[in-house]
């Protein structure tokens, strides 16, 4: 079960992706886009959208993303 979009760990992931090590190629590229948006000062609405996008990625790729999920959520 994925944490809900209100779980603060999503915010930590979105705001500080550099603190994590990612395994899946898709996630590495996706998080690069997230980091770039942060660099240009993403606002609250944009951050919510990013959380939705990243959570949606994990929903669709949960079976192959177990290592990444463990690294992020323990």
């Amino acid at each position: 079960m994925l944490p809900s979009v209100t779980d603060p760990r999503w915010v930590r992931l979105i705001e500080h992706p550099e603190r994590y090590t990612f395994k899946m190629l898709a996630l590495k590229i996706l998080m690069q886009r997230v980091a770039l948006k942060n660099k240009y000062g993403a606002g609250p609405a944009e951050k919510r959208a990013m959380i939705g996008e990243v959570r949606g990625f994990f929903e669709k790729n949960a079976r192959l993303a177990q290592d990444d999920l463990r690294a992020i959520f323990g």
Binding site: F22, L27, K28, M31, R33, N61
Partner: protein, 329 residues
């Protein structure tokens, strides 16, 4: 499963048997194949059983894995690319072939990472090209085998469905890593750049590359959380600031010039996947083929087209891309 170079007649026979294929061949061969469940792109360069091959007569064929339960084929113009993820099956993958040097090539290269849902399932593919002797004279082509349409200005995509017991995963092998030189950034996304920011300071890009005596066979490399993403150098202006690239650099992303690679073949083999799942599809870059003189040389057991650009979600350069289908039981 066929992942190999074959004759036109052999490929046609597979199509008539109802096999679902990804095909690479010189355009004249592609256009002679019968209608069926296949897509193709023009290119006469391949990695075959005996290594790198240049051949305008043969056909390279990847047969889709038996696990694939359904396929649909669609063509997309530059303004329709955003609907590629929405057209994909919930569980599966999409294979995209894009004709080089076209609006749809430019649009995909610059916009793919921002397409909603592009990372939700594997999008793998390549940029169709021509024999280098025909550059400027022939147009790269893609073919939608289901209706026989040959296009020079649209991308063709095969969406494949997998059962819940299987999952597709996409990976890359890139021998290039960032060197220890300056940090390079760009103010605008694009294939052509006049100005580079060197550690934040604007410089004429061509002057900078000459000043550091850069070997232009080595790409610019960005570090995407451990995934090295290249933009290869096409041309450095002799009398102006401009540098042309084979893939766009993205505004704000930090690049460095690549560190030199030793022996391509041995380093490549050292980085090949060691797991037991053979790639369902792979492609490698024509620049690796040329710069590393791969004609007649094998790079592990990897077979596939040698292309004008590789796609793993977004356009890549000088990179091996491969797709694996995992049986999760």
């Amino acid at each position: 499963m066929s992942n190999k170079i074959m004759t036109l007649d052999q490929a046609a026979a597979l199509i008539r048997e109802g096999r679902r294929l990804l095909v690479a061949a010189d355009a004249k061969q592609l256009e002679r194949l019968p209608a069926g469940d296949w897509i193709g792109g023009s290119i006469p360069y391949f990695m075959g059983d005996d290594g790198g091959v240049i051949d305008r007569e043969v056909v390279y064929v990847d047969e889709l894995p038996e696990a694939v339960t359904a396929v649909t084929v669609k063509r997309y113009g530059a303004d329709a690319l955003a609907s590629v993820p929405a057209d994909a099956y919930d569980n599966g993958f999409s294979v995209i072939i894009v004709p080089a040097m076209t609006d749809v090539h430019l649009a995909y290269a610059q916009s793919a990472p921002d397409i909603p849902g592009i990372f939700d399932r594997p999008v793998v593919g390549w940029i169709a090209g021509v024999h280098l002797e025909d550059l400027g004279a022939e147009k790269p082509r893609v073919v939608s085998g289901v209706d026989g349409v040959v296009s020079t200005d649209e991308a063709v995509v095969l969406h494949a469905q997998l059962p819940e017991s299987h999952a597709a995963a996409l990976e890359i092998v890139n021998l290039f890593v960032q060197g220890d030189g300056d940090t390079l950034t760009f103010d605008e996304t694009g294939f052509a750049q006049d100005t580079v920011r060197v550690n934040g300071e604007p410089r004429a890009f061509s002057d900078y590359l000459r000043e550091v005596a850069h070997d232009t066979r080595l790409p610019l490399v960005a570090d995407y959380f451990g995934a090295m993403v290249n933009a290869s150098i096409q041309d450095v202006s002799e009398d102006g600031p401009g540098v042309a690239l084979y893939a766009p650099v993205f505004a704000g992303v930090e690049y460095r010039l690549a560190a030199p690679v030793g022996d391509y073949v041995s380093e490549f083999e050292a980085q090949l996947p060691r797991d037991s799942v053979a790639p369902a599809f792979a492609c490698n870059c024509i620049l690796n083929f040329l710069y590393s003189e791969l004609e007649g040389k094998k790079t592990g057991d990897i077979r596939g087209p040698i292309t004008f650009g590789e796609i793993a979600y977004q356009l890549l350069n000088q990179t091996l891309v491969y797709l694996q289908i995992h049986d999760l039981g």
